[in-house]
Subunit: 349 residues, 2 copies
């Protein structure tokens, strides 16, 4: 291990007291400029780094941000969290924070972990993902007055007030739908999840809104299913063989979109003569757009909506630091952030 350099070593070298070293580093305004320089030089020469544990004992601040790493369920959307995590780690480091990981199988287990962590490592804040209706976690954290941000809006109107950063799913599906309308499609279907999930409802809403605005009635053009490739394929097949003349699909996830692609390629559906936009236009495969721009989308040439994850992570850190370091004025709370996804156009649409 490297030899330890303490604040006392620096003090000795600079010919001042420990406290002056501390002040030079933490409250530069209070020390004379010349001594500050002298201290900084000593710090440099000795390679001094403040010991977090010791600082934490006195200040109660660990400069740690904790976040849960989920077992990537279906695997496809797991990469979203992964990319977010990377962005979070980078942004946090820039603000002098480190990211601590934990796992938990459900809300209750996660709250237990909160207690564990707060008792042992005392992270300064938590970042929550996958927020949902009636989230136990946010309520608990608010109750305990533990700082946190969620990546994802609080979906219920009655859900507790807290900081959040999110990506505007509706804006995304709206953009996707417009893209398809511009390409001449009219009967544009939607493949999503059963009502009740905030994220899913939001994404469906963007599609419906845009279609309606374009004079197309979305009724009957939507299907809901669980987030599995196979289920997406079934639902897409069902929608495509209906007599609504669906020529394009906007999907709530890349998993569903991949299923849709499979369905669209199944015999008797893709390349249907006379079904392309514009009536008797040339044969054309069913257009499909996914959501999240996962590696799978890139791999199979699926057009998809990309979330600005690094940006979202940076905003999370920014909100937390104003909450932790800066003094958030009571009258003027930090603003929540809603980011827009961007459409990555590939072969599928």
């Amino acid at each position: 291990m490297a030899e330890k350099v303490t604040i006392a070593d620096v003090a000795r070298r600079a010919g001042v007291s420990r406290q002056t070293v501390s002040n030079a580093l933490n409250s530069p305004g209070v020390v004379r400029e010349e001594t500050r320089q002298r201290v900084l030089r000593a710090v440099e020469e000795l390679g001094y780094r403040v010991n977090q544990a010791a600082r934490q004992m006195r200040t109660g601040r660990s400069r740690l941000i904790a976040i849960r790493i989920e077992p990537d369920r279906d695997g496809i959307n797991g990469s979203v969290l992964d990319r977010f995590l990377h962005g979070l780690t980078e942004s946090a480091a820039r603000s002098g924070y480190r990211v601590l990981l934990y796992t938990a199988d459900d809300d209750r287990a996660e709250v237990d972990t909160f207690e564990d962590l707060l008792g042992a490592y005392e992270p300064d804040a938590f970042v929550l993902t996958s927020t949902h209706h009636g989230d136990l976690r946010t309520a608990w954290l608010l109750d305990q007055k533990v700082p946190f941000v969620t990546f994802g809006r609080p979906w219920s109107s009655d859900s507790p007030k807290h900081l959040w950063v999110d990506v505007d799913g509706a804006a995304g599906t709206a953009a996707a739908t417009r893209h398809l309308l511009d390409a001449g499609h009219r009967a544009i279907g939607f493949l999503g999840w059963p009502p009740g999930s905030g994220v899913g409802d939001d994404r469906r809403e963007g599609w419906a809104r845009t279609l309606t605005a374009a004079g197309v009635d979305p009724t009957g053009l939507s299907r809901a299913t669980s987030d599995e490739v196979a289920d997406g394929e079934k639902a897409a097949y069902d929608l495509l063989r209906s007599d609504l003349g669906v020529t394009a699909l906007v999907c709530a996830s890349d998993s569903l979109a991949l299923g849709a692609l499979h369905a669209a390629r199944s015999p008797g559906l893709a390349w249907q003569p006379g079904r392309g936009p514009g009536g008797g236009a040339a044969e054309r495969p069913v257009a499909v757009i996914g959501f999240d721009d996962t590696p799978v989308a890139k791999a199979v040439g699926l057009t998809s909506l990309s979330q600005p994850l690094a940006q979202a992570a940076a905003h999370c850190v920014a909100l937390l630091t104003t909450l932790l370091d800066g003094q958030a004025k009571p009258g003027e709370p930090p603003a929540n952030v809603l980011l827009e996804p961007s459409l990555v156009v590939r072969q599928s649409a």
Copy 2:
């Protein structure tokens, strides 16, 4: 925040001294059984949790394991690290450790981060991934006597000795090749990376060895390219249209395999009459096997080799804990671990 419970509170409650509480928890053998019970009851009642920062100050141990989270380059293989990370977090928690993340753009930056972290948070150990020839990091850590394990073997024969856990890539490609041989294929090609990368050479070797053992000369049946889908497609196309009658491909990654699948489906190559195994057998698509069993493989039905990542992570933690907690005997160092990947058979082969 929750009210803080210190060891003094527990001591008061149990009617003993602080030190006895500490002993009851850390050196149970030294305390009378009855008092131990009394202390444990007090701990339970008050919800006491040892403060890591305070403990760390005295013992110098943080119970933190640091690992770098990489920006998933091509996206496809990023999920491997993600799954490993999840396993690591779970295993570490079981042993009373937490995982701390950091990022770094290259070896040199990573070594700088080592210094930063060791000075500030004092992680007890590091887990390194993506080890490579002439790795600066392992040399530095060994020199500083900082405990660490690598997920990945030290590839050079002259590389420094340290703990590692790895997955036997050669065994994997050998199994894949056998699987293809059993299915009747003879001219089985290999798609990999340019020589020089330990991992890539290892995977190629397993294929070549197995083919040779089956009496097939692997000469000319191999192509090397960078790990991109498009490059894989080009290389596969090149190999397939040669006059060697290649009917199956083993690939060093899912990215390459995906490219191979595309190539195999390109007109004039797939379903080539008379080219199937057994000479004039029925038409058959080119078989493809990938490596890593990424979400993409699952999504497109690609047969692939799955690494036991959770297991690998667990072994990493096990090695570290014997190194840190247990007393690794000088004469009998902890054994490195080589795990076998398993073949996940899907439609592609």
